[in-house]
Amino acid sequence: MSLLFEHMAALQVAVPLLSAPVCSLLRGGRQPWFLALAVSWFAFFASISLLIQVLDSGDISYHMGNWAPPFGIEYRVDAINAFVLLIISGISAVALPYARLSVAHEVDPRRHGQFYTAYLLCLTGLLGGTITGDAFNIFVFLEISSLSAYVLVAAGARQDRRALTAAYNYLVLGTVGATFFVIGIGLLYMVTGTLNITDLAERLPPLVDNRAVQAGFAFIIVGMGLKLAMFPMHTWLPNAYTYAPSTVTVFLASTATKVSVYVVLRFLFTVFGPSYGFVGLTFEYIFLPLAILAMFIGSAAAIYQTNLKRLFAYSSVAQLGYMVLGIALGNVAGLTATVLHLFNHALMKGALFMALGCVALRIGAVSINGVRGLGREMPWTFAAIAGAGLSLIGVPSTVGFISKWYLILGALENGWWPVAVLIVASSLLAVIYVWKIIEAAYFGAAPEGRGPVSEAPLEMLAPLWLMVVANFYFGIDADLTTSVAGKVAATFLGGGS
């Protein structure tokens, strides 16, 4: 047993990685799903135990192949990536019980083995990109997750052929982003001679004025910006989320962009540092305006969507704007908001896309007109949408409120009044698009020709409601999440200056 805990950092990624090829060997039927479920739960268990270890006894460093860093690849777990690991594996652990029926409905049964293999690979990539302490290893694992994500998005082609073009655009932009990231790593390597993140952080300070370092910084941020759909590099996101199978949307929307945000945080605060002149400048002159534009343009675009999945996809663009805004604020409260929102946004988007998956299971396409009057026929599903929608708006006692609270605190701490007002104003846009759905579902008349619709099966409702309850639970008792996020933020800012 002690062996298990000693190697937990490696197992966190190695077990899903091994399970993926095993999954592709399975016969089909329920087996691939069951394997993915078991592996997700193991990963969840591993990430919990890692987080506990980190909080109890400090950072964990695991040397792959027993080569000491910076020569070998190091896994380095601290509070922040343990937290992100928890988000990824937690979402996966909840999404998989939900997945079985939804996937059975949306994906060709003969492709289930491959589908779950791709899913496991995606999980592996995200976990591996998060946990690693090696800059190039981040690239490798994020590419595993990205490539499998392209496949998973394209799996929606059975429902709508636009999934193919969405996956293609995602592939092109994602690859450009990854290549930018590689260029950035190369520039940093060129002047420091190391790829290990901790080592990089130690060797960079004398090189602040080196132009290669500055350009490297820019390339890394732009590259990850493409992957995290930072406005205006978000163009791949709406269609990819819209046409992917429901389960895929649930998983990707709650995890994939989060990992990219994490990587940006890691580079901004661990490798570089806000005290470096060029880093500080980007906060105020690049991140801040882009974040605000994202908040408003994303929300405004969401209001005009008729396809509900696309509506929430645009809302994700806006929500990612909040995360970037928290970084731009550059203080502990703002950074706490960003880290918190990684978690909180995963909860609300996870719940919302799960609910849309339930609707898709029953009526096919999820358009605003299609759901008219469904509130009575699928009461649990739509109550979940209402609950998670409130969280998205940021109503008190939901997680969305906690994030916004810290964001506004951060803005006020800097004395940025207009920003605080803009945060609030953008929540009001969320009221509009969420209410559009509520109104259609509860107060609209059913479209003609739609027969009676039954409620989604319990197997899907239970995970959905677990997420909804979490939205409220962590909104009312935010102590756990805020203390971790606050600790992370303090470490980042303390270490950077």
Binding site: F136, F139, V140, E143, L147, Y150, V151, A154, A157, R161, R162, L164, T165, A167, Y168, L171, V172, T175, V176, A178, T179, V182, I183, G186, Y189, M190, L195, T306, S367, I368, N369, G370
Partner: protein
């Protein structure tokens, strides 16, 4: 001046190459061409890495027993990995192109967008009626 040129000409030519690749990715509407552009872009990044590894008078990093100057082997390793990632991306990209062609009957971005817009309009009209 000449020194500066000699010191960096290799990088500059590679950067030009890289930018041609990136330009193809962004500006071409043909889906196959885009992926070819992506390949050129990536290949030039590989060249950038290998260039930075080169040591004047060095040899390939293989131990032969004689004391020698080696070029930096680490970027070689990284690029081996990156090439594999590149070919994996290319394979997936082409597979998607084949499927897109089967669905839309075209691999030109303009045609596909036009088809998608038409579909969207029909959907909106159905929704409104």
């Amino acid at each position: 001046m000449l020194d500066a040129i000699l010191a960096h000409y290799n990088y500059w030519l590679i950067i030009i190459l890289m930018m041609i690749g990136l330009y193809i990715v962004i500006s071409r509407g043909n889906l196959v061409k885009k992926i070819v552009g992506l390949n050129i872009f990536q290949t030039s990044v590989f060249l950038l890495y290998i260039t930075l590894a080169k040591v004047t008078g060095g040899t390939a990093p293989i131990l032969t027993g004689k004391p020698e100057i080696f070029s930096n082997p680490l970027p070689h390793v990284l690029i081996l990995t990156a090439i594999v990632v590149g070919i994996a991306t290319t394979a997936l990209g082409f597979a998607l192109v084949v499927r897109i062609r089967e669905s839309y009957g075209s691999i030109e971005e303009d045609d596909i967008l036009a088809a998608e817009r038409a579909e969207e309009e029909i959907a909106v009209k159905e929704a409104l009626s």
